[in-house]
Symmetry: C2
Subunit: 312 residues, 2 copies
């Protein structure tokens, strides 16, 4: 039996699609009548404190989100394997966000926006993509896809990850020891890391001060569509104010929705979107997890299982 | 002998580079002492009225610009072949502009900018690239390169040109008879046409009214980095005002610099840059034309010669 436990999204819609994909395998929602001991899989988004109570025969926790940082903090998380959502559609949308924001800053959008507001005709030629170095933090599925898109456009792409991840055409850096060298050649920093105790707060003043200066007119740029927990917003405000950063595109925040009194709203070179870079797609999610449940019921191993020790 | 006749750019810098590339072949500037009858090639940018006087043995006019619309209107243009500049670096920079502006509008930049100004957290998911149709007008070197970049990002790409130009993965339309069908499936219209009597003013109210509606939240979008003569600015102001267009990115204008009293400056969804989408590169230009002069002096035919009857 598959139990759906989804908050803040259309649980009924997901249930209907899962039933169509898995029938005759039973699919239930929280308010349906069922015996918790029959539940072998639970599909969760923002699970309540009692979400896992009585699920004594659970085989796997299936996560609607690609990031499991919040789920791993659940006080009653059972020992069953956790499966992450690896979603091609979400991956492509995340790359859409990355490309749009990287190219906007490469083309010096802030400069021309200020000129337009002043009715000023100030000819200045932005650098070519091949003259602009994009540094991607995190080379999982999302980082690798973004790198491929940026390479196709001619950008110089470099990456930094926990362990060495060789990707053709990308200069790869790994671990704490190579972080400064990675930053020192980066004009536009793109964060696609998972949120873990090691990466929390990594987007801070010290990091910003090590980015390459002189490559991009106005200063280096931060693009963060990963998690608000990666960033120190007080440090971003300071860096945008003193020129350590030339601009920032932020889709995530320490507190969401971003509070109305946050100073970020009013900073001209700070581009805010309300956590909409990429969303998990119902069709893709049902197709992905229905295949995983069928395979596991047929005796095959689970895929994309979270390693709790590393946190993703 | 090569004569340089360049206004508004660094003629001395070009001359130095041409001399280094062509020596011992003679290279002169306007103020140098030379016999006009010795001039076999003239390299021009914004030539004065007397630019071609006395050049009785001219073999070719070499244009610094990729677009020759202004040159073709020169009152004393000789009969010699005109060679267009085909510049890989300029092509790549033009694609940079196109990608930055297409992705900005696909990601609904105007909507989120307005939300930020109002400190409003309004979650709304932009369409994926694959759900967004970009229609490219003009499939010369620039159009084809932009199409390849957009295809690599997953966009639906369609094109319209004077004659059928088949490009893999692109839905091709040609001629006046297929213009409406091309527009009717286009969410973001990108103009990369040459400016000719046939294409002057083609970006007008009638064209805008035929673009697809309902594809892109806020309405269809115009992106014009080609020539100001392609656009009717009064029609753009009207279309942005009444919602026929959701937004526009303009790098060129009917009169440049754009006059301080133009209403375009103040329209929130109109993104103005001062004719900086792409510039011809000195190194690339010298390398390209030095090779053409050497080959022609060795008896080989000229390449990229303008067809005066079609105007490019």
């Amino acid at each position: 039996m598959l139990l759906l436990h989804l908050s803040d999204v259309d649980e009924a819609g997901w249930a209907e699609k899962f039933r169509a994909a898995l029938a005759p395998y039973p699919v239930v929602r929280r308010d349906d009548a069922y015996d918790p001991k029959d539940v072998r899989y639970i599909f969760v988004w923002k699970p309540k404190a009692d979400a896992f109570d009585g699920l004594d025969n659970l085989k796997a926790v299936l996560s609607l989100g690609a990031g499991v940082d919040a789920l791993l903090k659940h006080p009653n998380l059972p020992d069953a394997p956790i499966v992450r959502f690896v979603d091609y559609d979400l991956t492509r949308r995340m790359s859409d966000y990355v490309v749009a924001n990287v190219t906007m800053h490469q083309r010096l959008y802030s400069r021309f926006q200020a000129d337009q507001a002043a009715r000023r005709w100030g000819q200045f030629y932005p650098p070519a993509a091949r003259q602009t170095a994009v540094g991607i933090m995190g080379m999982g599925v999302l980082g690798q896809d973004a790198a491929q898109c940026l390479l196709a456009l001619g950008f110089e792409v470099r990456c930094w990850s926990r362990t060495q991840k060789p990707v053709q055409g990308v200069e790869a850096f790994a671990g704490a020891g190579e972080f400064d060298a990675f930053l020192g050649g980066t004009d536009i920093l793109v964060n696609l890391l998972p949120l873990t105790p090691d990466t929390a707060g990594i987007l801070n003043s010290d990091t910003f001060s090590k980015l390459r200066r002189g490559g991009l007119d106005g200063g280096p740029v931060l693009v963060n569509p990963a998690r608000g927990g990666h960033q120190r917003e007080a440090d971003i405000v300071k860096a945008l104010g003193d020129g350590t950063l030339g601009a920032a595109s932020l889709d995530v925040f320490e507190v969401e929705p971003l509070p109305a009194d946050s100073p970020l709203w009013d900073i001209a070179n700070c581009y805010i979107t309300p956590h909409i870079a990429a969303i998990s797609n119902e069709e893709a999610g049902v197709s992905y997890y229905a295949a995983i449940i069928k395979a596991h019921e047929a005796g095959k191993p689970l895929i994309n299982v979270v390693d709790r020790s590393r946190g993703y």
